[in-house]
Amino acid sequence: MTPLRRLTVLLAAVAVLGGTAAGYTAWAARRDTAAASVSAPVTAAGAKAGDGAAGGAPGAGRLLFRTARGQVAGVPQDDPAAAPVPLGLTCNRFSTAGGTSVCLVARPGALVTTDAVILDRSLRETRRIKLAGIPNRARVSPSGRMVSWTVFVTGDSYSDGKFSTWTGILDTRTGYAVTNIEDIPLTLNGRRYHAPDVNYWGVTFAADDNRFYATVATGGKTYLVEGDYGRWRARTLRENVECPSLSPDGTRLVFKKRVSSDPRRMWRLHLLELSTMKETPLAETANVDDQAAWLDERTVMYARGGDVWSVPADGSGAPVPLVRGASSPVATR
């Protein structure tokens, strides 16, 4: 090929490939704009209409969740089929308890970062904590004092695509925030443990705002840890427990247990009785990759396949869909 012909071919290829890329991008932009305008218009003003509480703030007895388009909305717990009322918040993960809410928002960019937005009883932003990574879990202690979250961080390496989790805890009373609890002294199987690959995720706080449970992973295994926030230490209780969720009465945990290496049925929800350490599989047999939330003392709910489902927390009954097109469920009390 002569240099001139080669250049012609190159320019033609740049034109075709560039045209394809630009054309597809323009089409995708129009497609997504069209889809967005069809879905419910969510504004702060809309959120105030008929939520039953001033300023879009959720009252007790509500079931809140995140819609497929990311808006936080609520229905009455006794009528989950009712039309969802938006709260005027857009989050990737949301949780609320005792008048404090946490909203994790991904900020996509050349660098992915996440904001943990803390909101008060009237859903006014009181604090914004800037984090690396992608939103994963969010929880608030029953009193509303302790807020915790987990993000996936990928910035470790520019190209090898490995993940680690960073879990943070905020004490809203003192304002003290830890963005990565990995430094907490850990006792594993009775011995003080150090390792570079320690990852925590899925925190759940007890009513005393001090004791918490979480998952710690190291050496390819996961463990349930019990943490003491005040003394700043943690110890493992049991192997193969992920994303624990403490019952309102503080006696039981529902968690996801790894039951298969097949990613399509990797985790099954189980109940753990804390006084006896007895495990019971829940009636939900499908793969569930979520930190469950307690709807009431006898029922948990979780995201599965784009919907929120509920199942009795004692292994009986059968799973039923609770809210279609939703995730991050949380019941206000």
Partner: protein, 407 residues
């Protein structure tokens, strides 16, 4: 521009002054291919975590399990591919297959949908493509520049490569912002960019084909392994592996920097970009320096810079200093090692030799992360880092004695 294959004019004199910035056309072409390909692949790397977790709702920890296995597969493919490139004397073809495989993975990622198995397979194929192309590409670079300018040639190539890696996430972000979050558009644009890279390779990169080996020039896998009987090359392989064994992975360095340096959590992703920026700025000047002062001293100085980075990390923990030293380490070692090894390897076995060297180094680094993890587990992170820094100092001294004659 420099086109001649052996770097000498007919009367054997050097055509240009040694301060010239000109780089052989084939090296620039390979650099352009790498730049464009890295834009494409880093676009995907930048958005893949978001796509997998927030768009598909998958758990990224499900993907980490494949790592050990895919490393083994990549290593074998790299060795086999390098050897085939020599047997057929078709380095461009083998490199091209590697680039094309990775290009095809972009639409395949979309086609895989939400299946973890399919996504894991596509990611593994993508890495295989990367493993396949590296050795033939580096062999082509080493065959395309005169031996006394290899440092600069590799430096130029690595700088272009790194520039692409820095641009990729920006392009991905622009597409995501412009489309209101359409991940499929990112994959389609990435695919188009990757095809352009393959086209650039096909049209602008010249293969450097030795005559097909006759009886005296065996290129069998056995002959490739026989390269290790050459004392000089064996020393380079042993040295690269030994130094790889005491090199702490970047992931650990960034984690420690974040813990010790007190960097705000939201700045964590900037750390790897800081390293890449330092690498980009230093690759060419350090490569030139290697040609003038000797490659082995520069290679060792690079590891000394790494040891210094650990010491800063153990001491004051200044982030900018650590990242600059880390970038200097890459600039003084990655391409420079290939420039050290290239002239030692016979042209007809050069790809096999480079694949052998790169695989040995990669294996040593995998072991080092296990080693470092073990030391950390037993004695804690400070001791872990101190042990690695001491190991580096010892290995640099040992290497100095082992390689003195090849500087």
């Amino acid at each position: 521009m420099y086109i001649s294959a052996n770097g000498r004019t007919a009367d054997g004199t050097r055509p240009r002054s040694r301060l010239s910035w000109a780089v052989p056309g084939n090296v620039l072409a390979l650099g352009a291919v790498s730049l464009v390909t890295d834009v494409s692949s880093e676009m995907v790397t930048a958005v893949l975590p978001l796509y997998l977790t927030l768009f598909l709702g998958l758990n990224p920890l499900q993907f980490g399990l494949l790592d050990g296995l895919s490393f083994g597969v990549t290593a074998l493919v790299r060795l086999a591919g390098g050897n085939l490139a020599d047997r057929w004397q078709r380095r461009k073809l083998v490199a091209g297959i590697g680039y094309a495989l990775s290009a095809l993975c972009k639409p395949a990622l979309l086609a895989a949908g939400g299946s973890v198995t399919a996504l894991g397979a596509v990611i593994a194929v993508d890495r295989t493509g990367k493993g396949l192309r590296t050795a033939p590409r580096d062999a082509l670079i080493s065959l395309s520049a005169p031996p006394d300018e290899l440092g600069r040639a590799f430096g130029t190539h690595r700088a272009m490569d790194t520039l692409g890696a820095l641009l990729g996430p920006l392009v991905a972000f622009a597409v995501l912002t412009g489309t209101g979050g359409a991940y499929d558009a990112v994959f389609v644009v990435s695919f188009c960019v990757a095809l352009l890279g393959v086209l650039l390779l096909v049209m602008y990169v010249r293969d450097r084909r030795a005559p097909l080996p006759g009886t005296g020039q065996a290129t069998s896998p056995r002959a490739a392994l026989g390269l290790l009987r050459d004392a000089a090359f064996l020393r380079v392989c042993v040295v690269a592996a030994a130094l790889g064994l005491v090199t702490v992975g970047d992931a650990f360095v960034y984690l420690l920097l974040q813990k010790r340096g007190g960097i705000g959590a939201e700045y964590f992703p900037l750390l790897s970009i800081g390293t890449a920026a330092a690498y980009l700025l230093l690759a060419v000047p350090v490569g030139r320096l290697a040609d003038r002062l000797g490659r082995v001293p520069v290679f060792l100085a690079g590891h000394a810079a790494l040891a210094a980075a650990y010491l800063v990390l153990l001491g004051p923990g200044w982030p900018v200093a650590v990242l600059a030293l880390l970038g200097a380490f890459y600039a003084a070692t990655d391409g420079v090692l290939m420039a050290v090894a290239g002239p030692m390897l016979p042209a007809h076995l050069r790809t096999s030799g480079m694949a052998l060297l790169q695989t040995g180094q990669a294996t040593a680094r995998l072991l080092s992360s296990a080693l470092f993890g073990a030391v950390w587990t037993v004695w804690g992170s400070t001791w872990g880092l101190s042990v690695m820094a001491a190991g580096l100092a010892l290995c640099v001294l040992g290497t100095w004695f082992a390689l003195r004659r090849h500087s």
